[in-house]
């Protein structure tokens, strides 16, 4: 990546929203979203970017908009 080039970042509020929704466990969220607990762990750690359908399912589980769960931005490298 060249100097000054912007780097895409994807951040999420999954962990915070889990705790705000009756201290939902990762397994409970995984069951509702239709994925494995490992995938939820990877998403929270920022190691995995979910597909659009999965991102929407997670947002609907929390009853919020997708923007409230996932934030996409760029930062200078």
């Amino acid at each position: 990546m060249a100097k000054g080039e912007k780097k895409d970042t994807l951040q999420n509020q999954v962990r915070r929203l889990r705790f705000e929704n009756g201290e939902m466990t990762q397994q409970q969220l995984a069951d509702r979203a239709g994925v494995t607990r490992q995938t939820i762990i990877a998403i929270e750690a920022g190691k995995y970017a979910p597909s659009l359908p999965l991102a929407f399912r997670i947002a609907r589980t929390f009853g919020v908009q997708i923007d409230d769960v996932f934030q996409y931005g760029d930062e200078d490298s």
Binding site: A30, D31, G34, V35, T36, R37, Q38, T39, I41, A42, K47, Y48, P50, S51, L54
Partner: protein
């Protein structure tokens, strides 16, 4: 550890077991058939038991494989194919320089089948290691 990881670990174990079968088969003249039959039966059992353990579900609601698992397997297949192609190319180049294009070598059916078998074993081993490395060699459920 999810099902895909268990399958990959089993793949690593399977590779070594299958390689052992090849070596065992090549020692045919040394070991008599009763012992060979017994060892084959034990090997067969060792191969089947993990399959049952991996396939068995503790909870019927448990998700077997999700989008992340599929993506990991896809990448692992690509890596395995590329590495196998590179290795095959290098083997061909080595044989070309050692033997030359027009030379022939005597080879028994046993040896030929062992070579083909080993190619499969190497593919399974690379695939399994590629899957496990993408999961991060993590502990329980990939957490660190």
């Amino acid at each position: 550890m999810n099902k895909t990881q268990k399958g990959a670990l089993y793949g690593v174990l399977l590779s070594f077991l299958l390689a052992g079968i090849v070596v065992f088969d090549l020692l045919d003249t040394i070991v008599g058939w009763p012992i060979k039959l017994l060892v084959s039966a034990v090997w067969g059992g060792l191969l089947l038991v993990p399959i049952y353990l991996i396939e068995r579900k503790k909870d019927t609601r448990e998700v077997d494989m999700d989008e992340r698992d599929k993506r990991i397997i896809k990448k692992a297949l690509l890596v395995s194919f590329i590495l196998l192609a590179v290795m095959s190319g290098l083997a061909f180049i080595a044989a070309f320089f050692v033997l030359g294009l027009q030379s022939t070598i005597p080879i028994t059916m046993d040896e030929l089948s062992a070579v083909i078998y080993l190619v499969l074993v190497i593919f399974v081993l690379i695939l399994s290691l590629a899957v496990l490395s993408q999961y991060g060699w993590g502990g329980k459920d990939g957490e660190r």
